[in-house]
């Protein structure tokens, strides 16, 4: 059993991720956010459970569905929302948007719009940790679609032969865009891919934040203590469409499927756990909701009132050092 304080921390963080994105969806519909925007709603227990097993000095890498990981790693709602708004106060000065959240300070090495591209990079971060004799670890998140990229297999093999402190977390939300995992993968239990690389593996219910936390804790111990990698499959579900431009259901899944899955909601699951263990306190929960509401409202106001990046920002950050190119059309 986990302590009450930790359970409420999980609750607060999952509620923050959920409410943050509900308001993100509204802002998108109002045209304040543009481009491609992928929501994490339904999957909160994975980011929150896993990242809580880390120390602040550990690293996290994610894919394009990255709002949740960024917030769970401690990035502020303001800098994330402002990035979605394309404002200069965003974590990437509005130049990256939804899929390119980064924070050096929080050791969040970003979202990534190219499926699977973060997996080798995470592996390299792990290699440097080992070379420099640090005892940090790396958590690398990706969807189940990404395991069909060569980059996944090349990386896991390296992590195994070089014994790197990297934890690979496959968030199996059942669909890569409109393609169910059963139609894209040769095996159903994806954690079995670890066998090919003689790597430790686990399989968790990604709707159960405590189970995720406990499992990642074990993997972290293995990585920190013995510099060994792990592949974890977290079975979860995405409630929304693939991106804000896609329908919630359609040819690939029905409305009923989605409603059925929502019964296993991660926030609801934690609530039930707390009730069963006589730890539930409605007023504490309300406090969390109120506090989160304030944080998200503040982030929206902050983003609304922030300035757009100046034209001169186009030429910054491209190189370490000076920009060579011409600065007019």
């Amino acid at each position: 059993m986990i302590e009450r304080e930790l359970a409420y921390k999980f609750l607060r963080e999952m509620v923050l991720l959920r409410r943050f994105e509900e308001r993100t969806a509204q802002a998108y519909q109002q045209g304040k956010i543009g481009g491609f925007c992928h929501l994490y709603i339904g999957q909160e227990a994975v980011a929150v459970g896993a990242i809580n097993a880390l120390r602040d000095s550990d690293y996290v890498l994610s894919a394009y569905r990255d709002h949740g990981h960024a917030l769970a790693k401690g990035m502020s709602a303001r800098e994330v929302m402002a990035e979605l708004f394309g404002k200069v106060t965003g974590c990437s000065k509005g130049k990256g948007g939804s899929m390119h959240l980064f924070s050096k300070e929080k050791k969040f090495l970003g979202g990534n719009g190219i499926v699977g591209a973060q997996i080798p990079i995470a592996t390299g971060v792990g290699w440097a940790i080992k070379y420099r004799k640090r005892d940090d670890v790396v958590l690398c998140f990706f969807g189940e679609g990404a395991i069909n990229q060569g980059a996944f297999h090349e990386s896991l093999n390296l992590a195994s032969i070089w014994r790197l402190p990297v934890i690979y977390i496959c968030e199996n939300n059942r669909f890569g865009m409109g393609t169910p995992v059963e139609r894209a993968s040769s095996i159903y239990d994806l954690s079995q891919k670890a066998y090919a690389y003689d790597m430790a593996r686990s399989h968790v219910d990604g709707m159960d934040v405590i189970e995720v936390y406990n499992t990642v804790n074990e993997a972290v111990a293995r990585a920190r203590g013995r510099s060994l990698p792990t592949l974890i499959e977290a079975r979860t579900y995405r409630y929304r469409g693939h991106s804000m431009s896609d329908p919630i259901h359609g040819h690939y899944r029905t409305k009923e499927d989605v409603e059925e899955q929502k019964k296993h909601d991660p926030i609801l699951n934690l609530k039930n756990y707390l009730i069963q263990n006589h730890l539930w306190d409605e007023s504490d929960y309300q406090k969390i909701e109120d506090e989160v509401k304030n944080i998200v409202t503040d982030a929206l106001q902050f983003s609304d009132s922030s300035p757009e990046p100046d034209d001169s920002e186009l030429f910054t950050d491209i190189y370490t050092g000076e920009y060579y190119g011409r600065t007019h059309g």
Binding site: G35, G97, N148, A184, G325, H328, G329
Partner: protein
Amino acid sequence: MAEKGRGEVVTYIEAITIGLREEMERDERVWLLGEDIGVYGGAFKVTKGFIDKFGEKRVLDTPLSESAIVGVAIGSALNGMIPVAEMQFADFISSGFNQIVNQAAKMHYRYGAPVPMVIRAPTGGGVHGGPFHSQNPEMWFVKTPGLKVVEPSTPYDAYGLIKAAIRDPNPVIYFEHKYLYRRIKEKLPEEEYIVEIGKADVKREGTDITVVTYGSMVHFSLEAADILSKEGVEVEIVDLRTLLPIDKETILKSVRKTGKLCIVHEDTLTAGMGGEIAAIVAEYAFDALDAPIKRVAALDTPVPYAPALEAFFSPDTKKILVALRELAAF
């Protein structure tokens, strides 16, 4: 919803769909593969309904494996099939790079057998997609002998070029511009036709300045030309349509007529198509030039997400006008 076809007013994206469908009806060797192209109908819905019409044997949903998608296409082409592979966005083509530039491009050179295959790639910006969903990667392939590269700007050309690409015995990269997908419409002819690969098209005749362009920039250039026409300057717009092989003849003919050249593309400036066209004109029509060659292109940076910055980064009618007015005054 009834299927649209020839003789109707169609969007750019519908024209691609019609061309693909007709080629699949015409030739059973034509098959499609790509991510979410079947049950989901494609990220942009180019192949909506195809899986029902042509079956799962000819319309294959693949895992997220660009390298294997291209490689499998090559293998099938070597064995008598005509694959049309979809890259969900042109940006992701990088994950299949080896199979395109080393394998597809050099297979005939090494093995001597034709490699009839098409890779479709939705390209370009203007949709606030940010650094990985907005790029124009055509020059990665224009540099690669053995490939052909096309990019239509109108529904007419989109239809004619997809058919030509499928019938070509070589690997063809077919860039389709996301910004144009649903923004432009025109009536397709009743009769079937193809648009020959390697042939540019004069989209507007003029006597004073030549603009060489392609893709979305054709439309911005046409708009600029209309504005200048009211000022008494007649601009000729050459739409390349095919980037490799380059239609030197049409370009040189136009420059010999006008004496002035501006190249416009949405891709970034350095080592863009503009440099190649400028070199060709300097090499073969230097004597015809009455002014320095101008280039209007995106700046040499990644594509920024923030809409205001993206606008500053990208070429547009205003920027084209500035360049053309300078040329007119020269």
